[in-house]
């Protein structure tokens, strides 16, 4: 069964653009906040809990281990999640217009 042509207004309407931008921005901001809490929180921890952050773990200080090693995989996880969800978001948007 051929799908009926989409009503041109849905795609160009103000509502579509607003919901599109709101959903994308929500996803981006959620990921950015997760990342910024850790990035900007680490100096605060260093500042207020220096003795704790200097705890030795197999030679590393805790804060060196976080910043020099663990930070990279953490960023990979955030970006991997973002990419999966944003591709799913785009697919849903295409479907909602071509419905």
């Amino acid at each position: 069964m051929p799908t009926p042509p989409p009503p041109p207004d849905v795609m160009h309407s103000e509502e579509f653009l607003r919901s599109l931008m709101r959903r994308q921005l929500k996803l981006s901001v959620a990921c950015a906040v997760t990342f910024l809490v850790v990035l900007l929180g680490l100096p605060l921890l260093n500042y207020f809990a220096p003795a704790f952050m200097a705890t030795r773990i197999a030679g590393f200080t805790l804060t060196w281990l976080i910043l020099g090693v663990l930070f990279f995989p953490f960023v990979w996880i955030i970006s991997w999640r973002f990419i999966r969800r944003s591709i799913a978001l785009e697919d849903a948007e295409v479907k909602s217009v071509k419905r």
Binding site: M11, H12, A32, G59, F72, I78
Partner: protein, 630 residues
Amino acid sequence: MTTTLAFLDGVDPWILTFSLITVLVTIWMGFRSARTSRTASDFFVAGRSVSVGWNASAISGEYLSAASFMGVAGMVMSVGYDALWYPVCYACGYLFLLLFIAGPLRRFGAYTIPDFAEGRFDSPVFRKIAVCFVLFIGFFYTMPQMKGAGTVLAYIFKGVDLRGGFLEFLAPHNSAGEALIGFPYWAGVLLVGAVITLNVARGGMKGITLVQAVQYWIKAFAISVPIFVLMAVFGFYNGQLGVNGANVNPNPSIERKALVEKAPADEAWISPFGPLTTKAVKAAAAKLPAGEQAAYLAEYQRPYSLVYTYSLIMALVCGTAGLPHILVRFYTNPNGAAAKRTTMWVMILIGVFYLFPPMFGALGRNFMPELYLGVGAKGTDKVVLELPTLLGGKFGVLGSILSGITCAGAFAAFMSTFSGLLVSMTGALAHDVYGRMLRPNATPAQRLRAFKVSAVIIGGLAIYLGSQVEALEINFMVGQAFAIAAASYFPLLFMSVWWRGMTMSGAAAGMLGGGLLALLAVALTSISDVAAAGAKKVSDLAALPAYWEHHAFAQSLGDTWVNHPLLRILCEQPAIWAVPLAIILMIVVSKATAARVPANIRMKMLVLHAPEQLGLKQEYIQEQQAAAGH
């Protein structure tokens, strides 16, 4: 043959061989892929057909510059923990690109950032401003690459004796005009500059994509293999850190050498808020009477270094997201989803790379403390090149081979970053200035010729500028480029993509205001620093007052910094105020000129945000052409 090559006696054959191979592979691959680059699209954006794997390797290859390959290791060695922010934020800036900028920019589909600037605001004037910024930031960022090339070549050939032969004019000369042993700084700048200019002019973006991708893998190999061998012999990363600082777990297998006096103490080195971030406060305290120093330091040292840390983080993260030569690469992906996947892989490739330079720093601290005695390129900056020679005593030739490998990696680093910059700057000149402003009706063949001519012009200019900056520090110049990019391009892109109320006047005001004030602040700190470095070289104490009379402005600046350490920190690291300032300027000026928001802003926003499958881009182009009366 033996007589003509006798001047090479003082050169390590392994280092020479590996470096030569890297240069030759670069030239050969450039020629090979140049044969497949034919159309203008191939030259500017590699035909928009670069696969995710190649593109990710190429972006990473382009991104890991001299500062990453040598500078980060040297900085970790000299200032410790605080330097770790550099690799982390270099890598994390990409996350911001991915979250906020990569997808929309790619969907909007323009050849260059100036294209985006003009398309978003319908303003040819704004295109001109954007072109100026591309070239400006680009030249700032090429100079440290050139400086790295000159220094490494001079290091490789430090033992060469050019005196007395027909090449004597090449040898460095002292002030009396006598030729010395060694190799001139400018020769390395010329060699690397000429090789890359040739590659770019012959193959354009498509020609260098393959080269940069391979150069990433050369760099990754060159930084990881030597350090694994070194750690297998001298003890691993955790053990190296374990012998530094208080409450250590004594590791009998690691016998570190005694630190020299100039090196920072263990505790300051391994803890946050160390020498890098507390320099300004310490200088201020040193001028106080001895009795007040301790109280002053207790009150200000830690809060001010926290401010420094945050400003540094902001400059590096936002600066990464605003470097023009990185942004142009997003246009070489076939579609938006591929652009996102590319960013993911770039983050993995760069993150893995950045695990290694701090290891060189830690090993260097424990086993090559004598490097603390030199400054910049003669000191800790060359730890990556020198460290493998430690193996020489026990394992003979292995040390030379590994040192040759790290030298080859350093060569790959300057060459790939310089090629990326050259392509984006050449694109700005050939596409934006020639193709859009001077000759809008040029044929494709003329555009192609314009690209090649522009590449030679920009390459020549970069070589000239590079040969003039021998006295400046690599990290300092990179920092300037980042501060300017963070306060100009990042706010521009972020706000243009997500806020439809932005007008051309607002964008221009924010970009120019933020970028130029950041530049001014950084320049002020450099004026006093360069003058202070010059004063240290004045050996005759009686001549010192006359020297400072000549540099009265720099001296008064220096006094200001000592009296107001917070001001010094805010000028050295301006991002913490410059980025918000640029954004506020954009909002205020845009609100004031709200009547000039482009009429078809909803369509523009749809093109930026709607999935590409909906075909809005084609519709938008047709509308634009109809409006222009084509």
